[in-house]
Symmetry: C2
Subunit: 251 residues, 2 copies
């Protein structure tokens, strides 16, 4: 079938309801909860070293998110928007006494046996992981602001994967307990607050059909960022299990 590139410049804007449905439909089609690796992870089908590889690589994503949010804020002239957005950095980096989500992620990598400085050095992570997450950081620098905001909207789909993950991993793996899953429990309340704000912003500020379609494409892009990380993990640590040079090798 031929790929048709549509020119949206002359098209009428979608209603807000249709625009929101188009965004949510991206999640139905390609959010990473559909990836084979996640099915294995949540279904208790992975060995400990495979869960470890996931946590080690996913650290790179966690670590990139506050940098992505700072990169976004560096472009925002609207002080009220910055004041709203900054709590995302607080959520990940912590603020004062609150240690933040990255610290909670390191509790998980602790439980999986990694020294912290190995994790934070990112040197055992798959190159494809690092390329994907840095593409996300660049995306929010290079795209129009509303499109950059739209790229965060995979958070709309996050609570259900987190709920599934908490239940599935607690049931299936003896190296996982409530303490270790604290990151995901916290995100259950943080992600909806963030995605509600971002969705409202995008629905309000993407006015032309072209802008709306760019926002929908941004959600697809972000799904690609997440999916590519699981592809790389699956290829390296499940099937065919070909670990690239320099990446972490289980003993």
């Amino acid at each position: 079938m031929n790929q048709v590139v549509t020119d949206w410049r002359d098209a009428a804007p979608l209603s807000k309801a249709d625009f929101e449905a188009a965004i949510r439909n991206v999640g139905v089609e390609r959010y990473h909860d559909k990836h084979e690796f996640h099915k294995l992870l949540h279904g208790g089908k992975l060995q400990k070293h495979q869960v470890a590889a996931w946590a080690l690589n996913r650290y790179c994503y966690q670590e990139a998110v506050p940098r992505k949010d700072a990169a976004f804020m560096s472009r925002v002239h609207d002080r009220e928007l910055r004041r709203e957005w900054i709590h995302r950095i607080h959520d990940h980096d912590g603020l004062g006494e609150e240690a933040g989500g990255i610290e909670r992620w390191l509790v998980l990598t602790d439980a999986l046996g990694f020294p912290r400085d190995y994790v934070t050095s990112r040197r055992g992570a798959l190159p494809a992981t690092k390329f994907a997450v840095e593409a996300y950081v660049r995306f929010v620098v290079e795209q129009p602001l509303v499109v950059a905001v739209a790229s965060s909207l995979t958070e709309l789909f996050a609570p259900s994967i987190h709920r599934e993950r908490i239940v599935g991993m607690l049931e299936s793996y003896d190296f996982v307990d409530d303490h270790v899953m604290a990151y995901f429990k916290r995100r259950l309340s943080q992600a909806p607050r963030d995605s509600e704000f971002a969705l409202g912003y995008v629905l309000e500020n993407a006015r032309t059909r072209e802008e709306q379609e760019a926002c929908v494409a941004a959600v697809r892009f972000k799904c690609d960022v997440l999916w590519a990380q699981l592809d790389a993990l699956h290829h390296a640590y499940v099937t065919p299990g070909l670990i690239p040079p320099g990446a972490w090798r289980p003993e």
Copy 2:
């Protein structure tokens, strides 16, 4: 005299004391407290519309600083450094109930008769002002991290200019009172905390002579950013008083 470009790659590093002295010497030579416009401002020699032009233009700098700090943070993989740095954004943008330094700056532009949306639109500011402050935002994105940190070190020289400004402006101008000068009073306590951290970071992390010289050059660059703003103001609103197209014109 011929300009000599020195190759520092083979030179021995400066001692920390000499390195710090070289940084501080940049302030002695070219911090903007030496600029003719500041002498007029602090000496009570300006008319109200000239003070207004200064406040209107300097808003662009205030507004750029938290974006600069976010741009810096977007490059920092060290969570502890981000957790330290983020309070600079809080200082400018405020956090929760605290309104922040930009709000205090707008109290000053209020007192000088500008509608807030005119100020925040930045459309009456001189192009040279905007070019200078955006060069600062880009600098911290493009330079090595330690050099980016060094560019903030003009804060070492800020408290004395702020003290001089508070005294001079309160004595000289009937449109200035304590409330209006709140921004500078707050910076008297904020700037030393920031510059102490940044100086320690730079002294510790610039190890080679080449890195040290790049840090000293960063302080010079930042002095240029500040100086260029006053040159543009002086040219447009003092002597010869040639206001470029589109910039604010006093009635």
